[in-house]
Structure formats: structure tokens, C-alpha cells
């Protein structure tokens, strides 16, 4: 008996099919991620959604969230780039310890991070009094405190991403720049930075996403004051007590923003081209 082309195609497809058990488990995993989201969508009081979203408190929380998370991202980029550079390029005693310290907040419960920030910058903290005496700054329970907490949890994502990119970079191109008369700083700006641009964007987006969703460290260190420290996640938490409908609407709204940013920016910069020339 001879097999038809269709037969062969079907068999090829069957040969290429993943094992049933893997598909089953993967399906459960996807459902695990998707179900809560659909649950939210299902529970949202859609008729009042718009009015709940445009309430002054909601808009204020949104404004504060955007403001603080962008500041936190900026700080992460400004300080995280040199940090990643030093970690990637220079061997020094205790580098592993320094790196672990800088990335600790990735695995730290955010509440613990908040407590730790208190111990450093709080009124009775290590730097609390000097900061107030010299600059008149009180960080806890201030908008600046929110930015600080968000930077604390967001920056490691940026540093990790950029450090990996710097490690993977071919330093010989920088050498070539040096022989052409470029100072180390000029070579960094004109050769290294363009080469790691995708990682800079991806890292910044990850740091932003983490900062935007920050809750534990913020509420511990900065409190929950409307217009000053009440970001969207804190508003959701508060609304859960008073108005579950609003909590649901704000949650869906946050998910929508984060999802759009991750899909739109991160995948474009990490998955696409734009990396260095391989040869």
C-alpha cells in the first residue's frame, strides 16, 4: 500500500507533536495565569467602570503612579548603567558580594525592603538625621519616599539586563575605537551604548513595570496618603475594603497598561533584531 501525500503530512505532523502530558501540564499552567485575569474581567462592574476610573481619587493615584514610576526608572538608568558597567567589566575583590547585595531586593519580600529602607532613611535610621539636618529632607511618608522604594525594587531588573548585555558585548570593537583616537568615554558613548541599546530599553521597561506595580515597600516606607504616596496598587488595596468594584476596575486598568508596555516594548527590543553584527 502506498501512502498519499496527505498521509505523509499527517504523519509528519504527528511525529512533530509534543507529548500529550506536556501539553496537558502546559495547558494547566496557562490556565493558572489566565484564569485570575478572566475572573477579574468577569467581576468588573462594566456599567460603572468609566465613572469609577475617572473618579478624582483614581486619577490622582494614576498620576502619582506614572510620575513616581518614571522617576524611579530614570534613577535606575542613571545609577544602574555605571553599576552594570563596573560589575561587568572590572574584577575587584568582593565583586560577587557587591552584586548579590545590589540584586538582593529581587528576592526580598517587599515589606522587608520597606522596613530596611526605614532603617536606613527613616527618622531614626542611619541617614535619617543627616539628611534632615543638611538638606531638610524627610524621605519616609513622602512622594520622594515612594520613588526611593520603587527604585529599590526596580533597579535590579535594569542592572541584571544591562550587565548581561555588557558581558556579551565584543570588547574588541571598543579596542578598534580606541585605536581610531577615541577616549574611553567617547568609545563608551559612541560604540558601547549604541550596541547595548536594546538591553537598556528592555531593562528600563522591566524596572518600570516592577516600579509601577510596587506595593509592599511603598506602603511600609511611604505610607498610604492620597495625593502624596497613594499609587495605584495602594489605591486598589484601599478600595478593596470600601468599594470592591473600584478595586476591580483599577486592577484591570493596571494589568492593561503593564501588559501593553511589556508586549509593545520589551518584546520588540529583546526579541527583534538591532543586536550587533555577528561577523
Amino acid at each position: 500500500m502506498t501512502s498519499t501525500v496527505g498521509d505523509r503530512r499527517r504523519r509528519a505532523r504527528r511525529a512533530n507533536r509534543p507529548p500529550v502530558i506536556a501539553v496537558l501540564m502546559a495547558g494547566i499552567a496557562v490556565a493558572f495565569f489566565a484564569l485570575p485575569f478572566f475572573g477579574l474581567l468577569w467581576r468588573v462592574p462594566w456599567s460603572e467602570a468609566w465613572s469609577l476610573l475617572t473618579e478624582p481619587e483614581s486619577l490622582e493615584a494614576l498620576r502619582l503612579s506614572v510620575y513616581c514610576s518614571l522617576w524611579a526608572t530614570a534613577l535606575a538608568v542613571v545609577f544602574g548603567t555605571p553599576l552594570a558597567w563596573v560589575l561587568a567589566r572590572y574584577g575587584f575583590p568582593g565583586r560577587r558580594i557587591v552584586r548579590a547585595l545590589c540584586l538582593l531586593s529581587l528576592v526580598l519580600p517587599p515589606v522587608v525592603g520597606g522596613v530596611a529602607l526605614f532603617a536606613a532613611f527613616g527618622r531614626r535610621g542611619l541617614l535619617g538625621d543627616p539628611l534632615f539636618d543638611w538638606f531638610g529632607v524627610r524621605l519616609p511618608f513622602s512622594t520622594a519616599g515612594v520613588v526611593l522604594a520603587q527604585t529599590f525594587v526596580g533597579m535590579p531588573f535594569f542592572v541584571l539586563t544591562v550587565e548581561a548585555a555588557l558581558r556579551g558585548l565584543d570588547r574588541r570593537t571598543e579596542d578598534a575605537a580606541r585605536t581610531l583616537g577615541a577616549s574611553p568615554w567617547y568609545a563608551f558613548r559612541r560604540v558601547t551604548l549604541p550596541a547595548i541599546k536594546p538591553a537598556l530599553f528592555a531593562g528600563a521597561v522591566l524596572a518600570w513595570a516592577r516600579a509601577f506595580g510596587e506595593f509592599g515597600a511603598t506602603i511600609t516606607f511611604a505610607g498610604n496618603f492620597p495625593g502624596r504616596t497613594r499609587t495605584l496598587p495602594l489605591a486598589v488595596y484601599l478600595a478593596l475594603e470600601s468599594d470592591p468594584g473600584q478595586a476591580l476596575v483599577l486592577s484591570v486598568f493596571m494589568i492593561a497598561i503593564s501588559f501593553a508596555v511589556i508586549v509593545g516594548l520589551r518584546d520588540r527590543w529583546l526579541g527583534g533584531s538591532g543586536d550587533g553584527d555577528p561577523t
Binding site: R172, T173, D175, A176, A177, R178, T179, L180, G181, A182, S183, Y186, R190, V191, P194, A195, K197, G276, D277, T279
Partner: protein, 354 residues
């Protein structure tokens, strides 16, 4: 430019300890097998790696001296470097790659681009000015890299295996561009290569490095006749005869015909004849060898394991004999003998440089 470099660098597996001297306007080839320390030498002269011991002096100015702590940064040396892998900047087009060094040294963008375009035109790459390196062929990219190194008018052009990554045809084309440039200018160039053809077609003088040490230096014909090591004898000591191939026969400028493998493509080429494949006979040989010449023994270089014989005839040749072969022939200077070479043993390097 004159260069004096006494280079000592300790590497994990061996030690580089060489002296390189260059006069103004010279092109010197540093020739050696892979792993001989050639690239380390290039790095040290370019300033991409400091000396462990020694001294680098260019035009009387010390660039690197560990004893006194003097070290001139690479960007201050004005040495143009062409690397084996072109190392163009992937995010810049060809024009801005060439303009990079001029911009880094403070030239305005407009002026730098004007100068860069002139260099691209000189290398016949003006049409590719707007292309990124990823869209250029290997040969084009390497010529852009050459233009980039030359645009800053370096005091020394340092080329680290500039042709090694290219295919045979492209290699010959880029070699032609290099030769044109080196012939047009009086600038000095240091060529680092493992390929004797590069040295033969580009350099005035050759320094052979093996295992981190200079094993031989001097003019090419001298090195070919008196190889001081097995490596030189095998690789550098090869007879290279330039000519033009037509239907399996290479004709030299003097009209001598050399039968080459039948599948050799027509056009300008080097015939390379290993000294070991030159057979010498007291009487005119009969047999399959199609290249037979009556030659005169000019010089004998007798070593324990091999005997090099410099021959003068229609073409200059170097033959290598085994001790037993030497005994049988009992050659002396001034003897007239027959030299034969099988066509199948003639190697061909295409040469587009003429």
C-alpha cells in the same frame, strides 16, 4: 616614521620576546604560524595591551616603557589598525565608520564626512557609503576598515592578518588595494600575517616569529634561500613565481612557461613551488614532469637534515634535497643540472593585484 620595539610579554602558555625595528617608509611583514604571538605583538604596538618588559619607541618618542612607567594610551598613538575581523561599528554606515576617528579627534561632522567620502572613493566604495557593515560583503567591509584606519593619516599602518578572513578571490582584490595604497604613500606599514604570499606581494622585509621568538629576519629572497627553521623552510621558503595563467600554463613576465594544474583558473596568479618538489638531475630527465629547466647551482646551504640549493636559470628556484639525495648528486656551486617540477605539484594563488 621609525619604530623600535623590544617586546616582552608573558602569556599563560608562553612568552613573547621579540625585537621589531622599522625605518621610515618601510613595509615590514611579521610572518609566523598561528599561536606564535603575532597578534599579541600587534596589540602591544597599538597600545591595547601594555608591555611586561621592554620598550616601544616611535620617532624617538617612548610610547611604552614599564621601567619608567611611561604608557601612551592607544588613542594618543595615531597608529591605524586593520584587524582580521573588520571590527566595523555595526550601528554606523560605512561613511560614519570611516568618519569615526576624525570625529573622535574633534573634526566637525560635515568636514569628517567629506574626508571620509574621499577615502571611500579612493577605495572604490563611494557607492556603499550609506550601507551598514551587515549589508557589506567581507571584502567591502575589510576595505571600509582599511579606509577607516587610513582616514586619520596614521604615522604607522598596523595590519593584523587583514586578509585571513577573506575568500581567495576577495583576498587578492583587497591585497591589490593594499599594495596600491602602500605604493602610493611613503607611510610605514607593519603587516602581520601567516601567509607568505601576503609578505611577498606587500612587504620589503620579513620578520619570522615562532613560539614567541624571532627565528629569522631579512629580505624575502634571503629568507627563502636560507630558511633557519622547519617552518620557514616549509612555508616561507616556497618559490613564488608571478605570472599569468592561460589554459594550464603560467607565463612569467620573461616569457617562461610553467605548466600548472589543468584546473587552475586563467588570469594573473602566483605559482608556488615547494623546494621539496623541485627534483634535480645530472642528466636530462625523462618522465612525466612537464617543467624541466637547465639551471646553474648558485649556492648550497647544507644543514644536518636538509640541503637548500639556490638555482639560477629561466626562473630563480630554490630546491631542497635530503642528505642522501645530496650525497648522490654531489653538487657544487657552478654545476649545471636539470631541475624538474611536476605540474600537479605547482600551487596556485590567484593574484588580482596586477
Amino acid at each position: 616614521m621609525s619604530l623600535h620595539a623590544r617586546v616582552i610579554v608573558g602569556l599563560p602558555d608562553f612568552r613573547l620576546d621579540v625585537v621589531v625595528d622599522m625605518e621610515d617608509g618601510e613595509t615590514v611583514a611579521v610572518l609566523g604560524p598561528n599561536g606564535a604571538g603575532k597578534s599579541t605583538l600587534a596589540k602591544v604596538i597599538a597600545g591595547l595591551r601594555p608591555l611586561d618588559e621592554g620598550l616601544i619607541r616611535i620617532d624617538g618618542v617612548v610610547f611604552d616603557n614599564p621601567d619608567t612607567g611611561v604608557f601612551v594610551a592607544p588613542e594618543q598613538r595615531n597608529i591605524g589598525v586593520v584587524f582580521q575581523d573588520h571590527r566595523l561599528f555595526p550601528h554606523l554606515d560605512a561613511l560614519d565608520n570611516v568618519a569615526f576617528g576624525l570625529r573622535a579627534r574633534g573634526m566637525s561632522r560635515t568636514e569628517a564626512r567629506r574626508v571620509a567620502l574621499a577615502w571611500l572613493d579612493r577605495l572604490h566604495l563611494g557607492d556603499h557609503a550609506g550601507q551598514r557593515p551587515g549589508t557589506l560583503s567581507g571584502g567591502q567591509a575589510q576595505r571600509v576598515a582599511l579606509a577607516r584606519a587610513l582616514a586619520g593619516e596614521p604615522r604607522l599602518l598596523l595590519m593584523d592578518e587583514p586578509l585571513a578572513a577573506l575568500d581567495a578571490t576577495t583576498r587578492a582584490e583587497v591585497r591589490r588595494d593594499l599594495r596600491t595604497h602602500l605604493g602610493e604613500t611613503t607611510s610605514s606599514a607593519l603587516l602581520i600575517t601567516h601567509d607568505p604570499v601576503d609578505a611577498y606581494s606587500l612587504a620589503d622585509r620579513v620578520i619570522v616569529i615562532e613560539d614567541g621568538l624571532v627565528t629569522q629576519s631579512g629580505g624575502l629572497s634571503d629568507v627563502t634561500t636560507h630558511p633557519q627553521s622547519r617552518y620557514v623552510a616549509d612555508l616561507v621558503g616556497t618559490n613564488l613565481v608571478p605570472g599569468t595563467i592561460d589554459a594550464g600554463v603560467l607565463r612569467t613576465g620573461d616569457g617562461v612557461a610553467i605548466a600548472v594544474p589543468a584546473d587552475a583558473p586563467d588570469g594573473p596568479a602566483f605559482a608556488s613551488i615547494r623546494p621539496g618538489s623541485v627534483a634535480l638531475h645530472r642528466t636530462e630527465p625523462e618522465g612525466s614532469a612537464r617543467n624541466v629547466w637547465l639551471v646553474e647551482v648558485v649556492e648550497l646551504d647544507v644543514r644536518a637534515d636538509r640541503i637548500r640549493v639556490r638555482l639560477d636559470g629561466p626562473i630563480g628556484l630554490v630546491a631542497e634535497l635530503t642528505p642522501s639525495g645530496h650525497q648522490a648528486l654531489a653538487l657544487r656551486s657552478g654545476d649545471r643540472v636539470w631541475a624538474s617540477v611536476k605540474a600537479s605539484e605547482v600551487g596556485i594563488s590567484e593574484d588580482f593585484s596586477r
